[in-house]
């Protein structure tokens, strides 16, 4: 039994595994992402706001696209704030409010309602994806390494 266990021991040291894991994690974290080859486009979306949802709830654009959002509302006054871009519009029932901006920051951004529209107003959100969500994919890659390294390195 003892010899069987010994034969299962990893042939490389804990220090080496740690170094490799950290190195690989850093590569995944900072590796440059492929540039989008698509030329910037005019993108037009009509978002309908109602308690407590945007329809569509997720919009996808490419970095550099010129985005126009027409916000309408079917029940009460709703707002639309784009995190990080710090853009804010509100729409009254029956009216359409337009927001135009260049999606020059890549990533995933939360859209939030800024006009108190009812009790669940604080949780009324949508999403704007500008290009692929590299943060999520990098995180999944690092999580895989972290789980394996945690098992391997920290034995006792």
């Amino acid at each position: 039994m003892k010899s069987q266990i010994s034969s299962l021991k990893p042939p490389i040291s804990r220090g080496l595994v740690t170094t490799l894991a950290i190195g690989l994690a850093l590569v995944i974290l900072f590796a440059p992402v492929p540039l989008t080859l698509a030329a910037p486009q005019e993108r037009h979306f009509r978002i309908e706001a109602s308690r407590y949802q945007y329809t569509p709830s997720v919009i996808n654009v490419n970095p550099g696209d010129r985005v126009t959002i027409d916000l309408t509302t079917t029940d009460v006054v709703h707002g639309l704030y784009v995190d990080d871009y710090a853009l804010n519009i509100t729409a009254d029932p029956g009216q359409t409010t337009r927001l135009t901006f260049v999606a020059d920051k890549p990533g995933t951004f939360t859209l939030r309602c800024t006009a108190p529209c009812g009790p669940v107003h604080p949780f009324m959100v949508g999403k704007l994806n500008v290009g692929p969500n590299w943060l999520l994919w990098r995180a999944i890659g690092i999580a895989s390494i972290a789980a394996l390294a945690g098992l391997w390195v920290f034995k006792r």
Partner: protein, 456 residues
């Protein structure tokens, strides 16, 4: 495993501060005043949650402070100043500051069958079912707080000591579970000294301090779960044998004594409910929000069933499957139940980090609501210091996703360390690794799920 400890009670002024009754009393009075203001604001203030002190201070300021700072760094420190049980405790003890008063109440022992945390698990589940209403309607928040204080008073008058805090309070269960990870502890200095001290003043009390309100015996204290950091044992010990230590994070996880099925299940309740809350509050699914809010409707019943089934059935079931597979891989002779309970304590760090990551996005986005309600607590249009009209703005929105990723990954690494360590308690190293693999797969999938919900 070696732990690194620094005894805070060796610092003279700090010990004086901890032993003195007045700082704790004053803190409790301040908290109680804030608590009363919160209840009044909820009852008579604006029904709009974002303009009401009750909603903003309970669910944005306090709840955030608890999860991001108080529990991870102070364990049960909040319980020492919590205003919910103090009224009942003062009545029970017959005094506000010094021991020696003629207290009220029957002082009956808590029923043996209920000496566990199944009640807090149930209470947390019930709160979860109504969370969307509680978190958004000021009157409901006040009602919940009033209900908790009334229950705490009644239980203090019927049962001995802090039965409410130890066996009933859902927030106490939450704090107790994760206080094991905190880098602070109250422990005896020399067990031999306690062994010869027959009077056990730390348990029964004396003129200097009450017997442990949490019904703990300091000599037997090996983890933070049932230590309220009230410092009564520090005051009542005539042999100066109680220490407050700073230690490494998560040191309690190596203690086998506190690993029980009720604690394990409470952990799954926490692990599961943060997934559901993330989906409801941070997801872009309006129908889910409406279902969670409209209590009593068919959609709400479906939501409730899913919440309970996921937290109390699916998640523990999948974990059980992972433990079973791990045992089979390692050909372990340890029983499935024992391994399940032991390994479920290894995922406590993952649970805490999931709550921290959830709180980061929720709290930072809403924290700017605090300034207006600070000087207009009832939402009546006061503008005492010019803050009432400060515009809402989310804080750190560009850094939030990265912070959440780092926190969740940190939780995964932290948990993987303990999965392996706990497996190694019963198995040789390589077999421990085999047993750990399916459990780590469970943790990995859970982490990916949370990443998707929070930054996906």
């Amino acid at each position: 495993m070696t732990t690194m400890n620094f005894e805070l009670t060796r610092v003279h002024w700090l010990k004086w501060l901890l032993v003195s009754r007045w700082p704790l009393f004053l803190l409790r009075v301040v908290m109680l005043a804030g608590f009363v203001l919160t209840i009044v604001a909820g009852l008579v203030g604006s029904p709009v949650g974002s303009h009401n002190f009750a909603i903003i201070f309970v669910w944005i300021a306090w709840w955030t402070f608890l999860k991001l700072i108080a529990i991870p760094f102070g364990g049960r420190a909040w319980c020492a100043v919590c205003p919910i049980p103090v009224t009942g405790e003062w009545l029970q003890q017959g005094g506000l500051v010094e021991p020696g008063g003629q207290g009220l109440g029957w002082g009956r022992p808590w029923p043996k069958r209920l000496r566990n945390i199944w009640l807090p698990t149930g209470a947390f589940a019930i709160i979860g079912l109504f969370s969307s209403v509680t978190l958004t309607l000021p009157r409901v928040t006040s009602g919940v707080l009033l209900g908790l204080i009334a229950l705490a008073v009644v239980l203090s008058l019927v049962f001995e000591r802090r039965a409410f805090c130890r066996y009933v309070c859902p927030i106490g269960g939450f704090i107790g579970l994760y206080s094991r990870l905190a880098p602070i502890e109250v422990r005896v200095r020399d067990r031999a000294i306690c062994a010869t001290h027959k009077e056990r003043t730390c348990v029964i009390g004396n003129g200097q301090g009450y017997g442990c309100p949490w019904q703990a015996t300091p000599l037997a204290l090996t983890q933070n779960t049932h230590c309220g950091l009230c410092m009564e044992c520090l005051r009542s010990c005539p042999r100066d044998n109680i220490a407050v230590n700073v230690r490494s994070f998560g040191a309690d996880l190596s203690q086998r004594a506190g690993r029980t099925l009720d604690q394990a299940y409470f952990g799954f309740m926490m692990l599961g409910s943060v997934v559901i809350y993330s989906a409801v509050m941070l997801g872009a699914w309006g129908n889910l929000k409406t279902a969670a809010y409209n209590v009593g409707t068919p959609a709400w019943f479906i939501y409730s069933t899913v919440l309970l089934a996921f937290t109390l059935g699916v998640l523990p079931g999948l974990f059980l499957l992972a433990v079973w597979a791990g045992r089979a891989l390692a050909r372990s002779k340890v029983s499935l139940k024992k391994t399940f309970i032991a390994q479920s304590h290894a995922i406590i760090p993952l649970g805490l980090m999931a709550w921290v990551a959830f709180t980061i996005s929720f709290a930072f986005a809403k924290f700017s609501y605090v300034w207006p309600v600070l000087f207009d607590p009832f939402g009546w249009g006061w503008n005492l210091f010019g803050t009432a009209h400060l515009a809402w703005t989310p804080y750190l929105s560009s850094a939030t996703p990265l912070l959440q990723v780092l926190v969740l990954l940190g939780g995964l690494v932290w948990t993987s360390i303990w999965v392996r360590r706990i497996a190694h308690e019963e198995l040789p190293e390589n077999l421990a690794a085999r047993q750990s693999l399916p459990i780590m797969l469970f943790c990995f999938v859970y982490t990916i799920g949370m990443l998707w919900l929070l930054v996906g």
